[in-house]
């Protein structure tokens, strides 16, 4: 008798966990969407600052980074761009160095004063690091998806 009660209690446990799991699956989607909207709003709001991430006039996504000493200024640490988008990376550094976009393996030299510009099509998915090579400074991450 006792064994069967223990067993049926266990099946109740299984059933309730199942229900819980399904509820979790159903609930998550909305949160995710809400979070995405908020993030998009934040990006637009940051548009007026000195370090900007915004959609350019020609449809190219522009990512601006300013480096002073060890300080890196960007609107976002990780910039999300859709697969296939044209990206324009502008790095203003206070020294001569080299900007390296890993994975795509694109490089451009920086010069104090004028921004270094790297234009490319984001056609490889993944997360890629943009680094100031000599200084070993991480500038920003590019999430292409």
């Amino acid at each position: 008798m006792r064994g069967s009660r223990v067993r049926s209690a266990r099946w109740w446990l299984v059933a309730s966990v199942l229900a819980l799991a399904l509820a979790a699956c159903g609930g998550g989607g909305d949160d995710d969407q809400a979070a995405a909207t908020t993030a998009a709003g934040a990006t637009t709001a940051a548009g007026a600052g000195s370090a900007t991430t915004a959609a350019g006039a020609a449809g190219a996504r522009t990512v601006q980074v300013t480096v002073t000493g060890d300080q890196v200024q960007t609107a976002e640490r990780r910039v999300k761009v859709p697969l296939g988008a044209d990206v324009r990376l502008e790095v203003t550094a206070d020294r001569a160095d080299e900007v390296h976009l890993h994975g795509y393996d694109r490089k451009v030299d920086t010069d104090p004063g004028s921004p270094a510009v790297l234009e490319f099509t984001a056609d490889v998915p993944g997360v890629f690091e943009v680094e100031l090579e000599e200084a070993g400074l991480k500038l920003v991450e590019l999430q292409v998806s």
Binding site: R77, G103, D105, V124, V127
Partner: protein, 442 residues
């Protein structure tokens, strides 16, 4: 170059989609609780396994001294090539293949090769060959019986070795510089050969971190030696797993493996990247060290709490309970490893042969691959996410399965059997959900 994670590589994985993570988490809970509902009542894996013997001719070839010598000579040649290329080749991992060979081909390659064929590193280990040569040259007695390994030492040296290597890989700022790769290889060989001069060949089975790793993972291989007569057999991989040794330090080895992959996952999250991006120099190294040790400590504490501190599991066992159940964490550790390194192997792994065409930076083109770029499109990001989640899930299912079987074998009373399992199941669910959460935050 400052890699995003695991020592090397310019590309990291996209976060796993939320829906995929949710389905995975749901599946984990369902599988685990069905297991609690008890599908079988008598142990299936605890007997010494019998297996199906391989043809005698094949065994004679594999066991022939000349064949075994040949394998270790191949290992020695690979080691020497790696040392020469690391020492004399170009000074960056973007042009020198040695770092890719160490962190991708060797370190990650150990897992699939051992899963398929068993303890491959023992077969190829050039250090065993070198140690034997040194002992013979110095006219010492047969190195087998120089001095026995102290019993308490067990696998602790291997656990320490794995911790040092994963620290170099995951914490140190420039693990991929060829000069650092060279330094590590040389120091490692030196320490191993010195220890082998004291303890003989037996040392490698306990103290060579990579050989111990390979042999442990090899327990999950479909090929094995039958206990007793040493006959090579085709076996149920899970039966092999049940034969994981219970010597001291085995818990530490597996907890270091699990903890370091957990830290690898943690260090890839945007949260950690933001944290570590604010510090430089010594503070960066300290933060990373704390993170690595913290994850290993967390994993170990959870496991020990569920086994050693579990009053129902403690009763009536000759071997410490945490060692009796540690084999159930091995598939989980392997699952994590596959999840974390899969994309590194398919992408960065290519650099190992692309760069091999001109290993010394002299403008050679030995294999016709010089100047070619890594093809980042061989596997889609969706496939990577699926492999990651599937690997973690498979590890979890096998772990739960194995723990259940061991509990049934070790305890006779029905209630004790269940209560011995509950805390461990909670820990496994926590590990798995934690692992999925780390993939989500990448």
């Amino acid at each position: 170059m400052r890699p995003l994670a695991h020592g090397l590589g310019g590309r990291a994985d996209l976060p796993v989609p939320v829906w995929l993570a949710q389905y995975a988490a749901a599946l984990v809970l369902i599988v685990t609780f069905f297991m609690l509902a008890r599908f079988w009542d008598s142990p299936r894996l605890q007997e010494p396994y019998r297996g199906r013997p391989l043809p005698m001719g094949l065994q004679r070839l594999l066991d022939a001294p000349a064949f075994r010598l040949a394998l270790r000579l191949i290992g020695l040649a690979a080691l020497l090539v790696a040392i020469v290329v690391a020492a004399l080749g170009p000074g960056s991992s973007a042009t020198n293949p040695a770092p890719t060979w160490l962190y991708v081909w060797f370190w990650v390659g150990i897992v699939p090769l051992s899963l398929l064929f068993g303890p491959v590193l023992r077969a190829f280990n050039p250090l065993r060959l070198l140690a034997r040569g040194i002992a013979r040259l110095s006219r010492r007695r047969d190195p087998e019986d120089v001095r026995p390994l102290p019993e308490w030492l067990g696998y602790w040296p291997a656990a320490a070795g794995l911790l040092v290597f994963t620290w170099l890989e995951l914490v140190y700022r420039n693990p991929d510089r060829p000069v650092n790769v060279l330094t590590f290889i040389l120091l490692y060989c030196l320490v191993q050969l010195a220890a082998a001069a004291v303890y003989g060949q037996r040392w490698f089975g306990h103290g060579d971190a990579f050989e111990v790793y390979s042999t442990l993972v090899g327990r999950l291989s479909p090929f094995g030696r039958r206990p007793g007569d040493g006959r090579l057999v085709l076996r149920n991989p899970l039966a092999g797993l049940a034969s994981v040794p219970v010597e001291p330090g085995v818990v530490a080895v597996i907890c270091v493996l699990l903890g370091s992959t957990a830290f690898d996952g943690l260090s890839r999250t945007q949260w950690w990247q933001g944290l570590s991006g604010q510090v430089t120099g010594l503070a960066y190294a300290l933060l990373g060290t704390a993170g690595l040790l913290g994850m290993v400590a967390l994993v170990s504490a959870a496991y020990l709490a569920a086994t050693r501190q579990n009053p129902w599991a403690r009763r009536g066992q000759p071997v410490a309970v945490e060692r009796r159940f540690i084999h159930s964490l091995l598939p989980i550790a392997v699952g994590y490893t596959v999840a974390h390194y899969f994309s590194l192997v398919v992408f960065q792994g290519q650099a190992g042969y692309l760069l091999a065409s001109d290993p010394l930076g002299r403008g050679w083109d030995l294999f016709g691959t010089a100047g070619q770029q890594i093809d980042y499109r061989v596997v889609s990001t969706g496939a990577i996410a699926l492999v990651q989640v599937a690997a973690i899930l498979t590890g979890h299912v096998l772990g739960v399965f194995i723990a259940h079987d061991r509990a049934i074998a070790d305890y006779t009373r029905a209630r004790q059997r269940l209560r011995a399992q509950y805390p461990l199941l909670v820990v496994m669910v926590t590990y798995t959900l934690g692992g999925i959460a780390l993939l989500l935050g990448a």
